[in-house]
């Protein structure tokens, strides 16, 4: 009931199922050494992707909480 009351179920599905797709896309090239974290460019890319995604998720959470307050 709680999950569906403010569409938290959609929120969780987006970030859990979507997050798995996202992580798969990051982990595979790292495992296969196409992305080498010893290289500055690759480190920058991974760092900025995760930072941007974190800011994005926090913004969505803030929006959700602001909407239901």
């Amino acid at each position: 009931m709680f999950f569906s009351s403010h569409n938290w179920d959609s929120f969780l599905y987006q970030f859990i199922v979507g997050g798995l797709f996202f992580l798969f896309g990051i982990v595979m090239p790292v495992v296969h050494k196409d992305v080498n974290l010893a290289r500055r460019d690759d480190r920058w890319t991974i760092g900025i992707i995760f930072t941007a995604l974190l800011v994005f998720i926090l913004s969505i959470i803030a929006w959700q909480l602001y909407a239901i307050k």
């Binding site: 959609s10 987006q14 896309g25 900025i48 941007a52 959700q64 909407a67």
Partner: protein
Amino acid sequence: MEPIHIFGTRLDYVIIIFYFLGILAFGSIFARFTRSTKDFFFGNQRFSWWLIAFSCIATTVGSYSFIKYSEVGFKFGLSSTMTYLNDWVIMGFFLLTWLPIIYFSRVSSVPEYFERRFDTKTRAMATTMILIYMIGYIGINLYTMAVALNALLGVDIFWSAVAVAVVCSIYVMAGGQTAVIMTDLLQGILLLLAGFSLFLIGLSVLGGWNNFWNLLPEALRLPFAKFNEPHEFPFVGIFWQDGISNNIAAYFMSQGMILRFLSVKSLSDGRKTLIFLLFVLMPLAAISASSAGWLGKAFVEAGLISRNTPSNAIFVVVANQLCRPGVFGFIMAALIAALMSTIDTLINAVSVVAINDIYRPYIIKGGSDKHYLFVARIISFMAGAAGILLVPLFQSFKSIYVAHGAFIASVTPPMVVVIILGSLWKRFTPSAAFSTLLGGSIAIAFSIKYPILITPFAHGVAPEGYIFMRAFYGITVSLLIGVLITLFTKPKDIQEIRGLVLGTIDDAKKIFKGGEINESRGKKVTGWLKVVDGQRILSFHRIAMNLMKAQPGDLIYLSDGKRWLGGLRSIHAKACEPHEGDTNTILISRDLVQEGELIEGRRHRAELIF
């Protein structure tokens, strides 16, 4: 209900006409930067990330976006932004695997990738599917824009489509990819500005943000829709149809988007483009395209417009409520911008596929580049004409949204699966790729005839919403076919697919450069060009080479010192042995100067690519 016709003032018409002429002239200027098919198709891999990012947003926000997302925003509130805010899901795979593969392998089209990764048979199938996808898209875009022009200005639908198609075809014919990128930069900025202007004017009319927010029902303020209802807009349906299937199709399969990313000056700039696009421009575009619908809902609650206002007319009604003479023309120009920036990309993309996947390999082999460029221009015009011919066909559909959704969910899943497995799995075989395209399409056709097949994949969505869940069904079935056939067939030798699959990206870089790569990261240097006659040469002083950490033979990117040009005047070339002259002098041969449209005597910037 009678169609709503808002006939603008003379000032509005003047603005719209000047906009059309201005874009035509602006796009045609770039004909001088187009000398070969490489320029025409790819813009010669020279542009900066910010320029391509704005250009991409103009393409992403299609002609129907303002109308469609305003309608969704009016009915379902702020969750209309979902489709713009779920692209991050496929970001890692695109940035770290697909982008390096297409960039370094220099594939000119997705079907060409299919031939190199699989075989000719798979390429032929992919070419057919992609051409259907793109020409259909041109027709849908022309039609939806013509409908909007008809509703707003009363112009005949067919002739509206003809006018827009002719203008787009002319400047694409003249300037190719460079013209597309530069005009889309302008149009991307314009359409964001127009959407925000409308939103801000609306907030002002309502008395500010707090009033607007309080007028919206709580359910319409949320960022996500309900999980599996209503059938018109269920979250889980949007997730699979748009977030997964459509996003992978748009970024991985859409020739237009691929050409944009092939136009950036380096892989690093391609990565910056996508990050900026997804986390900055897409949220802005979501607000720009949807806000008229949100305002419409607030206007209804405030009693400013009728509660019976049809949702598909809400953009028109809100624009009518808010626009003053001149502003209306500006909003219309933005709508036209959204259309033209999508159509021009598709027209250019059709010419790429037609030349590289049909004309060059099967009709005229070994022709001169000048010949192919000429034919590419003719095909650009024909693509616009083909789109126009499809307009009456789309007029016969009951709902363009339904036709569009069905089209995407039916065509894209098999291609999406083949691209993913082909680029991620070395073992994935040519037979499996072909079977996936064919079998996946047949399975989807069956699901249209027998929708009950989708029920196990429906997540509780009602049968009316299966149009969205068909994407999940199609992806799953295609995936199963691909994996099963792979297990019983022979894969290609790894040597044949180096640079085309995960785990071989470093090979792709070596092939791209034509030698060992230099991973050092030095500083950018500036200097003044000194043109020398004779053999092809690009030479820096030893100190400049040390600062860049470059060695003779390394690939260098040299561009005009004026950053706002975004790489329009630039070139990639290999560095020669350092010279012993003035520290700030860059010796360069005349052919390189002409190739990159560089200007002698002007300050230039150089950086090591690898």
